[in-house]
Every structure is written in C-alpha cells, then in structure tokens.
Symmetry: C2
Subunit: 341 residues, 2 copies
C-alpha cells in the first residue's frame, strides 16, 4: 500500500510506519543490542540487522520495514572510522578538506556488502504486502558529521567549511553523491522497494546554501540512480527545510517528501500534496505523552492530509522514552480512521 | 529611520542593527564584562548596561540600539533565580507546574527597576536618530527555560509539560504574558521606541501548539500593551517558525517580523513583505567567515528584499567568534547599496 502511494495513488487510512521504529523504545531491541556488542556490529551482521528490522513489524504490522542501519556507515566505508559512544551519539575523527583524496566512493558499495546482504534477507522474511525501505544519509548531513566529527547544536563546523571553501566542500559532496548512488542501487537490487534519503540537518542552511548542498546533490542522486534503475522510488526528508519544500520536490523528482512536525498542515495540503506524496508529521513527543495529546495529534493529520497522498509517520524518529503501548494505540487509531478528511 | 520602517514606510538602503550587537565579539565588551563581575550584575547596574548598549553604536553607528539585558531577567524577577555559568549558558532551578502560585507577575516591573532606569539613561545618551529597542522573551521561550532549567537541544521538557498538562501550562504562560505587558510598558514609558519579543524556541512546536503557545500569547501581549499605549511598536521574532509566519503576522498585529536565515527570500518578498516589515536574515556564519561569503549573503538580501519594507539584521545573534572588522564591512556594504532591487 505504501508503494502505491509512492506511485501516485491515494489511500485511506494511509499506510503507516515510524522512523527509528527498530530502536531503544522496544525491550526486544534492547536485548538484541546487548547481545550484539557494539551498535555497528548490529548493523554489519546481516542476521542481527534483519532481526532488528523485523521486530517492529512483528509487533505492530507496519506497512513498511526500514533496513536497520545508520547513515554513518558510508563515511565508515570511506575509511573515516566511526564509533558509537554510549549516550553520546556517533564520534568520528574530524575530516580535513585537505584529505579528500583519501576518500574513494567506488569502494563503498563493496565494503557495505554485509548491509546489502541484510536487505536480501529482510525482503525474503517480510510479508509480501510489507514494503521494504532502504536508505542513506543525504550528502550534506553526512558531511556535517564528517567535518565536525559529531553532532553539534547547529552543525556550525560544516556550515563554516562550506562557506570558507565551497570548491573543496563541493568535492566532498560529490564523493558522497557518487557513493550514495552506488549504495542505493545495490539496496534496490537486493530487494528494497524504495529508498529514503535523510537530510536531518537541512534546516540550518540559508537559501543559497540549501540550493547548493541540499537540492542539487539530491537531484544528482535521484538522477544517478534512475539513469540505471528508471523506476527507483525516492522519499526525500530535508528536515527543517519546509520553506524550500516546494522547490525541493520540483527540482529533485522525489516520489514523496518527509516533513517534520513543525509544518502548517493546511499549507502542506494546499501546496505540496497536489505535487507529491507527503510523509509525517506527528510530533514524537505526542507518542511519549500519549492520551489526548496523541489522539489530537493523529486526528489533526488525518483530517487535514487524509484526503491526499499521505504516508503516516512521525516527524522525526521515535524517542527511547516512548511507551510501546502508545505506538500500538497510534497504529490502531490510524487504521480505524474512516474517511472524513 | 528604523521607526519609519516600523510605521509602514520603505527605506533603501535599509536601516541596520544586529541581534547581540553588544556582546563578546567586541573587545570593549569583554573588558566591561570582566569589570562587572557576573553577567546579571551587568544587566542590573544601569551605568554598566548603558555602557554595554552604547558600545556597538559608537563603533558602527547602527540605526538601532537594543537594551543590554537578558530574557531571563523576568523569571529572575518572578523569584526563580537565574545564574549564568561560564561557558554553559543560563542555569535555573527547574520549575514544577505545582508551584505556579509562587509566581506573582505584578512584582516583575517593580523588581526590574534597574533595567528600566537603564532604558532612560540609554535614551538620554543616544543620538536622536538612533532608535532604542526594548525587549523581552516570549512566554513560550521563557517557559522552556523555566521548565528545563537550561537550554536543551529541542526544549523537550517544556514540550512534554505543555502536552501533558495544558491547563497548568497555560497558567504559566498567562503569568508570563501579564509580566511581559507590564515590563514592556515600563520600557516604552522610559524611552524605548519599539520593543522586540524574542521567541527563540518557537520552531520546536507543531501547528496546534504553535497556535496556542506562540501566536495566542503574542497577540495577548500586543493587545495588552496597546490597550494602554496604543502606538506601541512591536517586532516579533518567532525563530524557526517560518511555516506559520503569515498567520503570526495576521493574528498578532506586529509591525515587523524577525526572520532567521533559513527562509526562502523570494517567498518572504512575495507573501510577507506586502503585509509587514521584515527583519533579518543574514546567516551569522557569513559574518564569521567574511569575504565573498559575507558579500554574497548581504547582496542576496538587498536584491530580493530591498524594494520592500526591510530592517537589515542577522538571522540570529552575532557569535563571539565573529571578527569586528567583518561587521564594519557589512555595515559599509549595506549603506553603500544603491537601489537595484
């Protein structure tokens, strides 16, 4: 059903899945994570990545599974080693723009063979009606971590690098575009029904920089993949970039745009949904809180966006403090909805 | 000239000032700050607050001075004591919504007498042609600090409190609305030509919450002040809330809206400028970087927004790592601009 929405059809109730649906809010995930050792061991062991991917499908029957992995496996495969420190998020050795020649995008797909193997195993294990989503990080967002070596409040180090030395920064982005094209094609060939490109840090750029580092690389990825796999389906998620959403959609050719929770739903309905499927937009905090706050949030989305092309999702990943019972409530409420929108 | 733009006229080159123009990027500020002792001592000593306010005016001749103070003097006056830890930002004892009865908005204006005295001293010292801006934090943003006790990546504690217990959260907002009205009236009476209301954390709310905690309180403040001072001029700055900017302007009655740097300039020109004066929108990182990045950023704003009602400013406060020489370059370039927009 999710694939049909990406292909231009409308469905009500809408298909539903959740960003970070395989994650720490689930007790079975925490058990698996403990067994695996490090976070990247989980990503790089196909059986474990498959199990993590399937856990939320078994529990909730979501309409889509998303490959269990991380956007930073690409820099890891490029040779900039990544580790996940407990409670700190990812840590990388900060990249200097002097050392770009060390980065070889052609090795990424090969080095990530274990991830591609997981995609095949997951597709084989999933019910036919459940879509499988592959993904990667968008070049800008991946670059922000590569430059800063970690997450920062507004990714100032990469913003500064891009303004100080746009030519060399463009070379880094080009490397990431090439690696992403290869990596996504392999995911599609292994069984992914569509791919999502996460630009989590799109929202820190001004208009000129957004055009150059978010829209242009995304267009290059979509065109590069479709040059070889013409029917490839894309969900773009330029988080925080709502002011540029219309031009992002028009210029990149995505099948759906992911939206965070800070968007005016009526404007989305009037100006975006006629162009493209939209995905989101529930505030993850409403899933944490539950009760009336959760119900009102769900109902507002269904009422305003339910008559158009919609993939129900949160506006960002579910957080570890969310109660799994609230997720069950959400799925039931969306599925019980009757078309009043 | 800034006042004329707030009153509905267009000016080119536009008036210019900078958020946080009295701040750590200036050596003379760092000297003053050291002499003062604590940050709040600087805010609460009228002679020192006056000196801090005037420093950037002497150096750059900005079209507006803004009272040197902090948005957290209001919770401090309400009895929730605030301290500024070096390199950490503000720290407050987190407020429980059980203890709202301890907060008395009627004492705020009186307790902040030293700040009001500074307003009068600054107005007396400023050239006539330099506008003086007073300010306060918007209720939502001040509440996020009161609840969390500090800044957090997405002010989750206040978002959670507002969803869990909206009735009590509304009482906190009401206290802050009442305190803000009294405080802003005193600033206007002491000589402020206009007041800016900073909603730095407006951008973390979904549509329903933005309406309730950003727009409605701002409308109440504007109406409450104008009920007693009908000609009061307001600049509203709902940072990160671009998707709601049109309704914010229409529903609050502000004279100008402050915009951060992540906005589509052509949409601002076409949909906002016909309704209201706009203030911003230069990425503060362009002032840090200088050179071509700074020139291009300035020129894009002047070319796209220069033909409408514009107050040139940064999209957020100038950062401590900015070179004062870059600020001089910026002022000169804006003032040398000829109308091509």
């Amino acid at each position: 059903m999710l694939v049909r929405v990406l292909d231009g059809h409308q469905a009500f109730p809408p298909p539903i899945w959740m960003m970070r649906q395989a994650g720490r809010y689930l007790p079975e995930y925490r058990t698996l994570r403990q067994k695996a050792g490090g976070f990247l061991d989980l990503c790089y062991t196909p059986e474990l990545a498959t199990e993590a991917t399937l856990q939320p499908i078994r529990r909730y029957g979501f309409d889509a599974a998303i490959l269990f992995s991380d956007i930073l496996v690409v820099p890891d495969a490029l040779g900039q080693s990544v580790r996940f420190a407990e409670g700190e998020g990812p840590v990388l050795e900060p990249l200097s723009l002097d050392r770009l020649d060390d980065l070889d995008p052609t090795v990424v797909g090969h080095k990530l063979a274990a991830v591609i193997e997981a995609v095949g195993m997951i597709r084989a294990a999933l019910p036919d009606e459940t879509a499988l989503l592959g993904f990667c990080g968008a070049p800008w967002t991946v670059a922000t971590y590569m430059i800063a070596g970690r997450g920062t409040p507004d990714q100032g180090p990469a913003r500064k690098a891009a303004l100080l030395d746009p030519e060399r920064f463009a070379r880094l982005i080009d490397v990431l575009v090439a690696a992403s094209i290869d990596y996504l094609i392999r995911q599609l060939d292994a069984g992914a029904d569509a791919v999502q490109v996460f630009d989590t840090w799109a929202g820190v750029l001004d208009a000129a920089e957004f055009e150059r580092w978010v829209i242009a690389p995304m267009r290059a990825i979509v065109q590069g993949v479709r040059a070889k796999r013409p029917s490839a389906r894309f969900i773009g998620f330029p988080k925080g970039g709502f002011g540029f959403a219309e031009r992002y959609v028009a210029q990149t050719g995505v099948n759906a745009i992911g939206l965070d929770w800070t968007v005016p739903l009526d404007v989305v309905r009037d100006s975006l949904q006629p162009q493209v499927a939209v995905q989101g937009t529930l505030d993850p905090m409403r899933v944490v809180v539950g009760g009336r706050a959760l119900e009102q949030g769900i109902d507002a989305i269904l009422e305003t966006l339910g008559a158009g092309r919609l993939i129900f999702n949160l506006g960002h990943g579910i957080t570890p403090d969310a109660d799994p019972a609230h997720v069950a409530t959400m799925v039931a409420r969306v599925r019980a909805a009757t078309a009043t929108g």
